[in-house]
């Protein structure tokens, strides 16, 4: 079995993963990356070089907004969902849930029919 999810499989779902982390409240890049990785049990390879442009794109799309915090002595950029972002998470989460159910329904008999490695 592969050590991480294939890139093609991840494509299209990273936005939702990041938005879902932010649905729990404001967060910053490093912890967002950690939360996504932890959720995938290290199967999700979300590099910082991928995450930050993605965050900036989501911000340009109006799904999230950011503000700087200097209180810890280090400049840290916090992100949080906008109202549009919350709607987007909800809509996409419903879609993904249905999609996953559909895939599961097709895969379960297929896996049962195929010999295990």
């Amino acid at each position: 079995m592969a050590e991480s999810f294939e890139r093609e499989l991840m494509r299209g779902s990273l936005d939702l993963m990041v938005l879902s982390v932010l649905a729990d409240g404001a967060n910053y890049g490093y912890l967002i990356q950690k939360r996504v990785r932890d959720a995938g049990g290290d199967m999700i390879k979300l590099q910082a070089g991928t995450l930050y442009p993605l965050l900036h794109r989501l911000e340009a799309d109006g799904a999230i907004k950011s503000k700087w915090d200097h209180s810890t002595g280090r400049k840290r950029k916090w992100y949080e969902l906008t109202a549009a972002g919350r709607r987007r998470v909800r809509d996409q989460a419903v879609q993904w849930d249905r999609y996953a159910a559909c895939i599961r329904q097709l895969l379960t008999p297929a896996l049962a029919a195929l010999p295990a490695n």
Partner: protein, 264 residues
């Protein structure tokens, strides 16, 4: 040690980013916070500090992809601003046109007959003043629209600095944006593009180098026999171009991005 290595890395990224100083600084600050947080975590796990620095940097992924993605996000922002201005112009024109239409005499059929001539005179002068206002507003919007277009074009005005070194003698050529040729039909770029530019340089008697740069700052560099573009000796693409002794490639801000002489 760690700060130095992080700073070198961040400076390289900032150098490659075709963004304003403010944007570069903000991106550097954000990435620095990430690197330092990762360094703290690894150090806390007992990883040797210099090793932790290397791990933190290597986990970041490919610099070229990072830079390309940030630039694409910036293009997205510019396009959105452009669209907003365009839509604003259309909306304003529609609103003013609608305003003019509802005040035209044909829509005022209920006006008293005895005062019709006077009313028509008033309405005509009102329409005239509204048309003047419409023209003034259109001009204002047209100006702001061309400002956005100009700022976008300014950003896209890339220059190519080609630098060559042969037998200890340096040759440098700066091709200004106005001298670059459009290459709208060139198909070799990695990222989609609207425009691309070409510059060329002769090295010694027998080698020519052609460089293309597109608006997403993807580079294609090709070297061949002088006067024969089809005789390709070297072709590299994407981000930093390297691989040949005399090839050093720069950007349009007067900052040379030098690549190591690995072919020697």
């Amino acid at each position: 040690m760690s700060e130095q290595e992080f700073e070198v890395y961040l400076r390289l990224i900032a150098k490659l980013l075709r963004l304003s100083n403010k944007q570069r600084e903000a991106i550097s600050d954000e990435l620095r916070d990430h690197l330092e947080a990762r360094l703290e975590e690894l150090s806390g796990q007992g990883v040797d500090r210099s090793e932790a620095v290397q791990v933190a940097l290597s986990e970041f992924g490919d610099v070229n992809n990072l830079v390309r993605d940030f630039i694409q996000v910036n293009h997205l922002k510019i396009r959105k601003r452009f669209m907003q201005t365009t839509l604003g112009t259309i909306a304003a024109c529609a609103a003013v046109t609608f305003g003019v239409m509802i005040y035209t005499p044909t829509n005022r059929q209920g006006a008293p007959v005895q005062s019709q001539a006077m009313a028509q005179g008033d309405e005509l002068s009102q329409i005239r003043s509204e048309l003047e206002a419409l023209r003034a507003e259109n001009e204002l919007l047209r100006q702001s629209l061309s400002m956005v277009t100009a700022s976008r074009m300014k950003e896209l005005s890339l220059a190519v600095i080609m630098y060559a070194e042969k037998e200890g003698q340096d040759e440098t050529k700066l091709t200004k944006p106005s001298q670059l040729r459009d290459y709208t039909d060139f198909q070799s770029f990695l990222a989609p593009y609207d425009r691309a530019y070409q510059a060329s340089m002769q090295l010694g008697e027998d080698v020519d180098v052609w460089a293309w740069v597109d608006e997403n700052s993807s580079f294609v560099l090709r070297g061949g026999k002088a006067g024969d573009p089809k005789s390709i000796l070297l072709e590299e693409r994407a981000g930093l171009v390297s691989g040949h002794r005399w090839v050093i490639f720069g950007d349009g801000h007067g900052e040379l991005i030098q690549t190591k002489n690995e072919a020697d």
